[in-house]
């Protein structure tokens, strides 16, 4: 039961990503060509509501369902890792039209070819881990 709720949230997430066509390569391509409001509307409305939700959580000191303080750690500040890492990520995102969430949703959807993308993402993660100390952060 401890993990069951995460399964349910994941199912909600997966259905929504599929039904709103966020898992579609075409939607990502269209977004980067600025030819549709769809993806901007999704990300924009999620972020606006997200900002409101987190402000309410912080100001009301809302507790988690376990009665603990909700902690959202700040990201360490720097430029190099976010801009270089971000650009590398963006290149891949636009190329195969799927970021890590949609990748997994697409497996369930039945596009098994996406497993090659997941394999690539695992290799990329591994290579980062090995090279991490040599990269500028």
């Amino acid at each position: 039961m401890k993990y069951f709720k995460f399964l349910l949230v994941g199912i909600l997430f997966g259905i929504m990503m599929a039904k709103a066509e966020i898992i579609s390569w075409f939607r990502i391509y269209e977004m980067f060509r600025f030819e549709s409001f769809h993806m901007y509307g999704i990300i924009g409305s999620a972020v606006v509501l997200g900002i409101i939700i987190i402000q309410i959580i912080k100001r009301t000191k809302l507790k988690s369902i376990y009665g603990e303080e909700i902690v959202i750690p700040d990201k360490d500040f720097s430029y190099a890792r976010y801009i270089i890492g971000g650009i590398i990520f963006g290149l891949g995102w636009a190329m195969v039209g799927a970021c890590p969430g949609p990748m997994f949703v697409l497996i369930g959807y039945g596009y098994y070819v996406i497993l090659l993308v997941v394999l690539g993402a695992l290799i990329g993660t591994f290579v980062y881990g090995v090279l991490r100390n040599k990269l500028p952060h």
Binding site: Y29, I72, Y109, Y128
Partner: protein, 185 residues
């Protein structure tokens, strides 16, 4: 059911993503999908090669469970909730896709030129898929998060690093879409 089997508009999806973020927070966790790739590497024994992968997998089971749910959600959507997979793209996007040789736009979610069985028969096709995945995995860990961790969770928490990362996502995405895809495909 008519409403559910149609493609969902942005004003349904965006608030649902915010709901996922909220649920994760009140469950005492932070929403971010790409860290599961690190966990998977750890489970496969990557800790022998880098201390980056020496993490306690037990602390990540919640997130792996979330991913399992996402896979099940994709299955449910495909088999019970979708009447047509046609993506209503902007006609000028379709025209552009035709000009670069992608004519399967947009009768299904993914272009067959990249994800169809034909693509698997060429080295180039396989390199595009594995290479694209590599960039995503490498870039996400380098930047410390992906679309969910930075664009949604990070910016919602007003984190400047996340804004920088998302600017990076867009620089990379625009370069790929406008400059590299016409060359690669």
């Amino acid at each position: 059911m008519e409403f559910i089997s149609q493609p969902w508009p942005w004003y349904v999806a965006g608030p649902l993503i915010a709901l996922v973020l909220f649920l994760m927070l009140i469950f005492g966790r932070n929403f971010g999908v790409s860290s599961n790739l690190r966990t998977a590497c750890s489970m496969a024994g990557a800790g022998k090669f880098s201390d980056f992968f020496q993490i306690d997998v037990k602390d990540q089971v919640w997130n792996l469970t979330f991913v399992l749910g996402a896979i099940i959600g994709g299955f449910i959507a495909a088999n019970y909730l979708t009447s047509s997979e046609e993506v209503m793209l902007n006609p000028s996007t379709i025209e552009n896709l035709h000009s670069i040789g992608i004519t399967s736009a947009a009768n299904q979610y993914l272009p067959l030129e990249i994800f169809g069985s034909e693509a698997l028969k060429s080295v180039k096709g396989i390199l595009i898929l594995v290479g694209g995945g590599f960039l995503i995995g490498f870039g996400a860990r380098y930047a410390g998060g992906c679309t969910s961790g930075h664009a949604i969770s990070g910016i919602s928490n007003l984190q400047i690093p996340s804004i920088i990362a998302v600017v990076g996502f867009f620089i990379g995405g625009l370069v790929m879409t406008h400059l590299l895809i016409p060359i690669i495909f």
